[in-house]
Amino acid sequence: MSEARLFFLQRLTALVMAPLVLVHLVLIVYAVQGGLTAAEILGRTQGSVLWGLFYGTFVLMAAIHAPIGLRNVLREWTGIGRRPIDWLMVAFGLVLLGLGWRAVAAVVGGGA
């Protein structure tokens, strides 16, 4: 994929993630302040299509965004070659996607 496309994807995913991050932060503060237990939280998320979509999208965006940035960091700060870095980052993105979606499935799936 060309540098221009990666640049575009990184900006686009940042654009999508910005509001998601805000909602996520507000949610954490709300859950902590209200003293919600894990069971109460799961009670609200399990079976919720909306939260599934919200966090599913979040994970996808992060899995695209982070490897593009990390690729630049590795290029500038390590002696690893360009091709190996590209493949490493594809793998890193897939790991993020796998772990993230698995977590989303655990929170949203089951119950209800």
């Binding site: 060309s2 540098e3 221009a4 496309r5 990666l6 640049f7 575009f8 630049n72 290029r75 500038e76 700060w77 360009r82």
Partner: protein
Amino acid sequence: MAEGTLEVRIWRGGDEGAFGAYAVPARENQTVLDVVTEVQRRFEPSLAYRFSCRVGVCGSCAMTINGTPRWTCRTHVKRVAPEGRLTIEPLRNMKRVKDLACDMDGFLEKWASVGTFEGSATRADPPAAIDPASPARREVDAAIQCINCAVCYAACDVVAWDPHYLGPAALNRAWTLYNDARVADRRAVLESALQPGGCHTCHSHGACTEHCPVGLSPTAGIAGLKRASLLAMLKGGRP
């Protein structure tokens, strides 16, 4: 500070080397280039350094002065060393050849890699009618005064981190070509600026703009190239 002596340290050697220390008389009106010249004339006839015009036109006398890349001919000692201590090294990010002279091949090859001016007009055509007030020409005018002194290239941290990065001067050149209506294949110019190590490698630190002795803003030109790449991609598919 006219009275007294300057404590001057000057790099001697290539990539391996050491500083030489010299005591140079402080004068009322004295540029760093004057100091280097005085050291060569009086103490070190073998000291290698580059200069030509002495008045900020040719761009060949740039060196690192107390850690900052500058034109030595336009830098008064009083301004950068009020305490009378000067450390003079060759420019960063290039191989050191000898003393204060560095190998500019890499810098110039990157400059050339973004393309040279190739117009579509022939001798038979009338001169191109370029409106000086057009937005594209204004972009060119704002960036065209670069004289290849490599101060921006030495100031850029991204060049230090990623030797593939084209650097501010080359990308500034690409930006002027891309906005020049007389250039035959502007798309090719843009694509050469989008190669790996091209404009998207820039972190927009702005060190080039901060240090450019002519007051240009390569950072703005590089941002323009990024913008142009997005527009080209959304319009025409490729880059």
